[in-house]
Symmetry: C2
């Protein structure tokens, strides 16, 4: 359901791309809302997420589980090669597949993964409520040709372009190939989730058609990034690990990845969990909302299934 | 002196960019020519270079030496900002300085470094003869904007474009900033110096004007890279280390680097040492030779000085 509010009538705690100069704002919302009795994460893990904005579990899925996910990934890779729909994103230069969206609805295997208690339970525990999937995707970063993805806060985009009111959301990634220091793993600035970069610029029409390949709006300025680095709670960290490694990260943590000239592809599943108390309103930017493969409007709470 | 030979009259042991299909050739030349009594490298180091094609010395230059090199680097960075000459290479998109060439002739400090016995002595020891500098440069990989440099063999370019007959040359890099796993350090494929990738394509006119920023010719094909990876003597290795770290690598080793979205710049000095018995002839490709800031024609052997 769309909120009847319009951007003009609302107070915006997280303004961005308003044409004003870039600035760093304090986060106005809690980070971890649940307690240790609410889900699978122990107190140390909850504390780590609170302080640093992410959790890395190397090899959370075992070899057998990984093999099943990889088989499904390969099936989708082959099946979507000729797909020209919006849900399929390609490399700007080579036209190779880069992302396939909506995998939690179009794949039975991935529908189950996103309801796995290790993921869904942790998401509900951190966000302190039932959750649904705002969007999901496979990212393929091919060998020899994987491009960088510059620093960004997901929440900045979801707020400005999708109308997600608050950073009461998180992403969970599941690596299907090994993430090494050489093949462009996702990097986070630890602690950066505690600040919000109000980005310069405004949003052009249909920005999502290019921003999923290369983001040019909602890009933090170097001075704000320098400030986040200075206030970071730990050195730059990347999501290295064997296939089956899981990264959980706050909607507002600053993250990005270098390119990948190595032969080793980097394939990762992403599920974005949003609290059912944080469903999208009208976008806070000046454009119509993005399509539903990016901004899911089915807010039915997910229920756990055993993987 | 230019050789009177023409490409047509010569046998070419290392053909590339001839219009033929890519293929992998065996190296026809020795790797390490000197012995342990000829210079500063011990037997284990010589064996490592022979087997893997490189040597990494973390922190070879001490803090005081590094401070002096950094000061000179900053002086040159400032002094060459407005320089529009060929010796100064800029980022394709931002016009930021990327490389300054001929630093062993234009800077007294760097002229001394390239004659430091730790570098020059090792170069002469490996190449088994007196050496001169084929070219030299500072590479600046700025924070937030450093671009990748794809896999390549330096010798392939020096042979095709400069007329260097044999892989009897090597590069020595000196890091002036910390090289981390995150800021795009140079990666090598260990053992790849034992094979030569005959690259597809031909060379366009004035290729050097763009190839120093982004190489599009003399680029190895994925199948050859896969073959080099399969035959590699060790996993992919990168030149990580504190400022003052030194990497010595064979002219023919396959190397490259990912981009750098981190705030941390990566600045490195490069000196290319060539044997005086391996001076350039007419290029083996179909184009006139590159200018002398890339293809030095002063073959006067270097003499060691204490740093």
């Amino acid at each position: 359901m769309e909120s009847p509010n319009t951007a003009a009538a609302r107070q915006d705690l997280y303004p961005s791309r308003t044409g004003a100069e870039a600035r760093l704002l304090e986060r106005q919302d809690p980070i971890v809302r649940g307690t240790v009795s609410d889900g699978p994460l122990e107190q140390a893990a909850l504390d780590h997420f609170e302080q640093h904005g992410y959790l890395l579990f190397q090899g959370l899925f075992n070899a057998e589980e990984v093999a099943s996910l990889q088989a499904e990934m390969k099936r989708i890779w082959a099946a979507r090669q000729e797909d020209s729909g919006d849900e399929v994103i390609r490399e700007p230069e080579s036209a190779e597949l880069r992302s396939v969206f909506r995998i939690h609805e179009t794949s039975e295997v991935f529908a189950r993964v996103c309801r796995d208690p290790r993921l869904l339970g942790a998401a509900m525990q951190i966000l302190g409520s039932p959750v649904y999937v705002h969007h999901s995707r496979i990212n393929y970063k091919p060998g020899y040709a994987g491009r960088e993805f510059y620093w960004h806060s997901d929440f900045e985009t979801w707020h400005v372009e999708d109308g997600i009111p608050r950073p009461r959301a998180l992403s969970i990634s599941v690596a299907l190939t090994e993430n090494t220091e050489h093949n462009g793993p996702l990097m986070v600035i630890p602690g950066s989730h505690r600040h919000y970069v109000s980005c310069p610029g405004e949003t052009p029409a249909d920005n999502f058609k290019s921003s999923l390949r290369k983001q040019e709006y909602g890009v933090p300025d170097p001075a704000s990034l320098d400030a986040l680095m200075k206030r970071s709670t730990a050195p730059l960290t990347s999501a290295k690990g064997p296939p089956g490694t899981v990264l959980m990260f706050d909607a507002n943590i600053m993250h990005g990845s270098n390119g990948n000239i190595t032969p080793d592809p980097r394939t990762v599943l992403y599920f974005v969990y949003n609290s059912v108390h944080n469903t999208p309103e009208a976008p806070f930017g000046n454009r119509p909302p993005r399509p539903t493969f990016l901004r899911n409007l089915d807010f039915t709470p997910l229920r756990s299934v055993q993987g």
